[in-house]
C-alpha cells in the first residue's frame, strides 16, 4: 500500500516550501536517536497542511528545521525560495512553538505590541487581540494568565506578525473545547487570506476538519501524504463487527472486500476496503453471524493502520516509505 498514488493525483502547483531529504538525529544515552529519517514534503502557497503523528514521530524536529531553529544533518529546507533564516528575517514567517511560556512583566497588549514592532507589516494589535479572543484580558500581566489564556496569547503573538507562512506546533494542546473551536475559526479566516499554514497535531479530527492535506509521520518518516479524504480511503473505509465465535479469522480476512480481521473474544472485527461486498461475502461464508454493526472508520483507523505497518517494517523501502 504505497502513498505514491495520492501524490500523483495532486494538482501541479509551485512548491513555495520544500523539505527535501531531511535527516536529523540527536545524541541519546544509547547512541544516536534518529528523530527524522529522510523527509520530503512540498507545500504550495495557500495550502493548509497538517503534520500528523503520535508523540515522538519527529513532527517538532521537522518544524524546528522548517523554522531554521535546528540545522538538518542532511537534506535541505527552502522557504519562499531562500533559507528559513532569510524568510524569518524578512518577516515572512510566524510561528507558535510547541513549548514555551510568555515573558513576564508586560500586559497582554504590550506584549503583542512589542512583537508587532519587530515585523515590517504587522496586523493591527487591537484586531489581533479581538481575533484571538484576548481583548478581555488585554490589560492583564502575562504572568497572571491561565494555561488556556497563555496559549491564546501565544497564538496572538504568532498571528500579529501577519506572516505568509504560519507554523503551529500542537497549538490546541492546552485549550478547552470552546477555546479550540474559537482557535480554528480564526485559523480558517486567516487561511482564507491566502496564507500558507502548517500545523502539527496528534488530534486526528483537527487534521480531518481543518487541513487540505495531511502528512502522516511515524518514527521519523512520512507514512502517507495526501488529502485527508484520500488517506482515509487508503485503508478500510468501514469496519464490520459481528459476533461469530467459531470461525477462523484468517478465512474471514481472505473474504472479498476485507483486508484485515481480528478476533476480540466472541466478536470479530473486519476492516473493509468495500463494506458492501464484504458484508455479502461474510453472510455467505458465515450465515450464523449475529449483532452485526457496520461503522465508518475515521482518520484514526487509517492512522493506526498506517503507523502500525511502519512499526513492523521500519525500512526505507517498506510499505510506509516516503511518498516521493
Amino acid at each position: 500500500m504505497s502513498a505514491s498514488g495520492i501524490a500523483a493525483g495532486a494538482p501541479v502547483r509551485t512548491a513555495e516550501i520544500q523539505l527535501s531529504g531531511l535527516v536529523k538525529s540527536f545524541r541519546g544515552p544509547d547512541g544516536p536517536i534518529e528523530a527524522v529519517r529522510g523527509i520530503d514534503v512540498d507545500i504550495s502557497a495557500g495550502e493548509t497542511v497538517a503534520l500528523l503523528g503520535p508523540n515522538g514521530a519527529g513532527k517538532s524536529t521537522t518544524i524546528d528545521m522548517l523554522l531554521g531553529l535546528l540545522a538538518p544533518d542532511g537534506g535541505a529546507v527552502s522557504v519562499f525560495g531562500g533559507s528559513p533564516r532569510e524568510a524569518v528575517a524578512r518577516g515572512a514567517v510566524g510561528a507558535m512553538l510547541q513549548t514555551g511560556d510568555l515573558i513576564r512583566d508586560l500586559s497582554v497588549r504590550e506584549l503583542i505590541a512589542m512583537m508587532a514592532s519587530l515585523y515590517p507589516a504587522p496586523l493591527d494589535v487591537d484586531e489581533v487581540l479581538e481575533l484571538t479572543g484576548v481583548d478581555g484580558i488585554a490589560a492583564q500581566r502575562t504572568q497572571k494568565l491561565s494555561g488556556g489564556q497563555t496559549q491564546r496569547v501565544r497564538f496572538a503573538v504568532a498571528l500579529v506578525s501577519n506572516p505568509e507562512l504560519l507554523v503551529l506546533d500542537e497549538p490546541t494542546v492546552a485549550m478547552d473545547v470552546e477555546g479550540r473551536r474559537g482557535f480554528w475559526t480564526t485559523m480558517r479566516a486567516f487561511a482564507a487570506r491566502g496564507k500558507t499554514i502548517v500545523f502539527a497535531t496528534h488530534y486526528l479530527e483537527e487534521a480531518d476538519a481543518y487541513a487540505d492535506r495531511a502528512v502522516l509521520m511515524a518514527h521519523g518518516r512520512i507514512v502517507a501524504d495526501g488529502p485527508t479524504t484520500e488517506i482515509r480511503a487508503m485503508v478500510g473505509t468501514r469496519t464490520i463487527r459481528a459476533t461469530l465465535p467459531d470461525v477462523d479469522v484468517d478465512s474471514l480476512a481472505a473474504l472479498a472486500g476485507v483486508n484485515g480481521a481480528e478476533r476480540h473474544g466472541e466478536a470479530v472485527i473486519l476492516t473493509c476496503t468495500d463494506s458492501d461486498v464484504a458484508i455479502r461475502a461474510l453472510l455467505a461464508a458465515a450465515p450464523d453471524a449475529r449483532d452485526i454493526e457496520i461503522v465508518a472508520a475515521g482518520l484514526e483507523q487509517a492512522f493506526l493502520a498506517l503507523t502500525a505497518d511502519e512499526a513492523v517494517e521500519p525500512t526505507a523501502d517498506g510499505p510506509g516509505a516516503s511518498s516521493r
Binding site: L67, G68, L69, L70, V88, A89, R90, G91, V93, G94, A95, L97, T99, G100, D101, L102, I103, R104, D105, L106, E110, A113, M114, M115, S117, L118, Y119, P120, V157, S161
Partner: protein
Amino acid sequence: MNPLIYTRYELLRTLRNRRFFLLSLGFPLILYYLIAGSQRNVHDLGSTGLSAPLYYMVGLASFGTMAAMLSSGARIAAERAVGWNRQLRITPLSPRSYFRAKVVTAYMMALLSLLALYIAGTTLGVSLPADQWLKMTGLIIVALVPFAALGVLLGHRLTPDSIGPALGGGVSLLAFVGGTWFPIPASGFLHDVAQFVPSYWLVQASHVALGGHPWPARAWVVMAGWTIVLSIAAARAYRQDTGRV
C-alpha cells in the same frame, strides 16, 4: 519595524520586576550602610587620608555596578528557560538589536545602582567635586563594557538554577581579585594576576574619585582584549542557542 520599541519594552519590564529591581539595588546599599555607617566618623581610614564613607562608597560602586551588569544574565537565562529565546529567533529581530536591548537594560541597572550609592554616600557626609564624580562615572561606564558581554554570555550558556551560584561566586571572586574589599599589594602574585582581570581595572576606575590615576595604557589594552573575547563568545553562544533548554 522599529527595533527601539523592543528596547523600550525591555527597560519597562526590568523596572516592573520589583523583586529583581529592589534586590539588585538594595544589596550594595545594605552592605554600604553596614560597613560605612558604623565608621562614618572615621576621616582618615588606615592613614590613607580618606574618609571611610568615601572609601567604601567607591568600593561598592565597582561591586554594585558589576553585579548589576552580570545580573542581565540571570534574566536571559530565565527567558530561555520558558522558551522565549526561541520565540524571538523566529522574528526578524536582529542579533544587534537583541544585544542592544540587553546591554542598555544592564547599563540602566548599573547606573541606577551607582546613583543610589552616590546618594547613600552623601547621607554619610561624602562630598566630591563635580568633575571628579563625572570622571569616575565616565570611566566606570567604560570599564563595564566587558561585563555587559560577560552577562549575555553567561545568560546563554547557563540555566536559571546554575546561574545563581555562578553569579554569586563569580562576582565575589572578581571583587576579591579586583581589590574591591582591600587594596591589591603593589607587587607579588596577586598583583600580577590582577593586572589582567577586568574587575581590577573597574576598581581602579572607581578609585579615580579617591585621587587615583586614570587608566594606564595597559588598562585600555586589557579591557579591550576582554571586551573582544567576551563579545565573540557571547555572539557565538547566542547563535548556537536555538535548541530547547
